[in-house]
């Protein structure tokens, strides 16, 4: 029996069916590898256990519960790679020296920085961003606070503008029970 016509028929049917399947199902997610550059409007907020927000008098924002963050030496958050904190991580005062993701920012008189202990992974599906920044840590006053979690957001493939948000409950330490709320926005630069 000659199998060639059968194979040809199968390949043709599969080729015809695949666009239809793609249209019927959800758009496939594509991994975004590169830098989520931190732009204007990015911030950190700290929620207190009673539901109010920590007021940072040194915030540049008019509402002191929003601590505005600006890009660090690497422009922002890199996916697919780890952005480690330098060693030593702090100066004598307790200011963070982790300046790759954000420029260390004054929080109550001492600067905090961000670093990652594992590579963030973020993918886009249509205009929807999802992924994780599980290894994200905030470093402040000679202390390290885990601030990683799953992230969600939006992305425009045309303009490469993005918004990423997540929150992370602080467990242990002086801010135990507080929640960090993060919003990064700006443009994405593919690697």
């Amino acid at each position: 029996m000659n199998a060639r016509p059968t194979i040809r028929l199968g390949v043709t049917l599969a080729a015809l069916a695949s666009p239809a399947l793609a249209a019927a199902g959800p758009a496939s997610a594509a991994t975004l590898k590169g830098v989520f550059n931190i732009g204007s409007g990015s911030y950190f907020r700290m929620g207190e256990p009673d539901g109010s927000f920590f007021s940072n008098p040194y915030s540049a924002d008019s509402s002191k519960t929003y601590t505005l963050i600006t890009p660090g030496s690497e422009g922002g958050l890199r996916t697919g790679v780890v952005q480690k904190a330098p060693s030593p991580a702090f100066d004598a005062k307790g200011d963070s020296r982790a300046g790759a993701i954000i420029k260390p920012t004054n929080f109550t008189g001492i600067r905090f920085g961000l670093a990652t202990t594992s590579a963030p992974a973020i993918s886009v599906s249509g205009s929807h961003l999802s992924g994780q920044v599980n290894g994200l840590v905030a470093e402040w006053n000679k202390q390290v606070f885990k601030q990683g979690n799953k992230v969600t957001g939006t992305y425009s493939a045309k303009t490469r503008r993005y918004v990423l948000t997540w929150s992370a409950l602080i467990k242990g330490g002086p801010f135990n029970g507080f929640t960090g709320y993060w919003r990064l926005q700006g443009t994405f630069s593919p690697a």
Binding site: G94, N176, G177
Partner: protein, 329 residues
């Protein structure tokens, strides 16, 4: 020579004591709680010194000085500006009000902690809490083992009872060696004193205080001191007229460095403290060793050597009479 056999009932009682010693740590949840106690003792070590606690009291005085300085500034600026200064510095006015509650509460808390430095030292000088369950289990297991040996190999009872007696004496002496009679009650006093401190609501209140103090310091540095500059005072005049403001400003990073780890230690040890507080009172701990020890000694004495009737009857046989079994008659 006739074999010395232990009496049966003291052996049974000794076995019960051995089992009780093994069971006690499980009954009191010591394997879970004692390591938490050890963790708490270690975590508190950097803070439970008079030097460090004096430092915290100084931190409170710096903040209080800042508040007093701010009040003086508002009075002075108010006199010059028609009394509207409070409106210009609402954050400071809010902080001033909050400080009235924070200061006595924090001072009282630090006083309580400081009053327990000696008690803490006494507890910290005890062997690690992690070992405590084993201080019961190991003697208990040894007692059980020796009772089993006494039961199965009665011929060796003389040696076995000596080892049992040593275990009993060891239990009696252990609290003396570790100075438990003086240290354990101090530990009990510390646990009792911290009842109102190491609670989640109290720690959360301290965290909120920290947030309020941070906000207050911010208004001192960012609002009050610049306002004095705008009123025509240079840095030296501000420092000499309002030393409380400039001292708080200068000491703020030190206060942050000092206080946040302490708040962290307090917060991280709430569950550890609860575990320690759930243990039986520390006052009882020496007796948990002494009483079983005394009972073991008494039972070993009561177990005594008992000679088997058949051996005794053999001994009474004139054919077997010898100077060695004279005492049996």
């Amino acid at each position: 020579m006739p074999a010395e056999r232990p009496k049966r009932w003291p052996l049974v009682a000794l076995a019960v004591i051995g089992l009780a010693l093994i069971a006690a740590p499980f009954a009191f949840g010591m394997f879970g709680r004692a390591p938490k106690g050890a963790q708490m003792i270690n975590s508190f070590a950097p803070y439970m010194t008079n030097r460090r606690l004096d430092g915290f009291q100084s931190d409170l005085r710096y903040i209080d000085g800042g508040v007093l300085g701010g009040q003086a500034e508002l009075r002075a600026l108010g006199a010059a500006g028609g009394g509207r200064e409070a409106v210009r510095f609402p954050e400071f006015v809010t902080f001033e009000r909050q400080w009235r509650a924070i200061d006595p509460d924090m001072t009282s808390m630090l006083d309580t902690i400081q009053a327990n430095v000696g008690n803490y030292r006494a507890v910290a000088a005890l062997p690690s809490f992690r070992l405590f369950p084993w201080f019961f289990v190991i003697p208990g297991a040894i007692v059980l083992l020796l009772v089993g040996l006494g039961w199965l190999r009665p011929g060796r009872w003389r040696a076995t009872r000596w080892v049992l007696a040593v275990v009993g004496v060891g239990l009696v002496l252990a609290p003396v060696a570790f100075q438990m009679f003086s240290r354990a009650p101090k530990g009990a006093r510390m646990v009792s004193a911290f009842t109102t401190i190491e609670t989640r609501p109290r720690v959360e209140r301290i965290q909120i205080y920290f947030s309020e103090i941070a906000s207050g310091q911010g208004t001192v540095q960012l609002d009050l001191i610049p306002a004095l500059g705008r009123a025509g005072l240079d840095a030296r005049q501000i420092s000499s007229t309002y030393p409380g403001l400039t001292t708080l400003d200068a000491q703020w990073v030190h206060i942050l460095n000092d206080m946040t780890p302490m708040i962290g230690a307090m917060s991280d040890n709430v569950t550890n403290y609860q575990a320690v507080a759930a243990l039986p009172s520390f006052r009882l701990f020496p007796w948990f060793f002494v009483l079983p020890g005394l009972i073991i000694i008494a039972l070993v004495a009561a177990a005594g050597p008992r000679r088997r009737r058949d051996e005794a009857s053999v001994a009474r046989d004139p054919e077997f009479s010898s100077p060695l079994n004279e005492g049996v008659r």
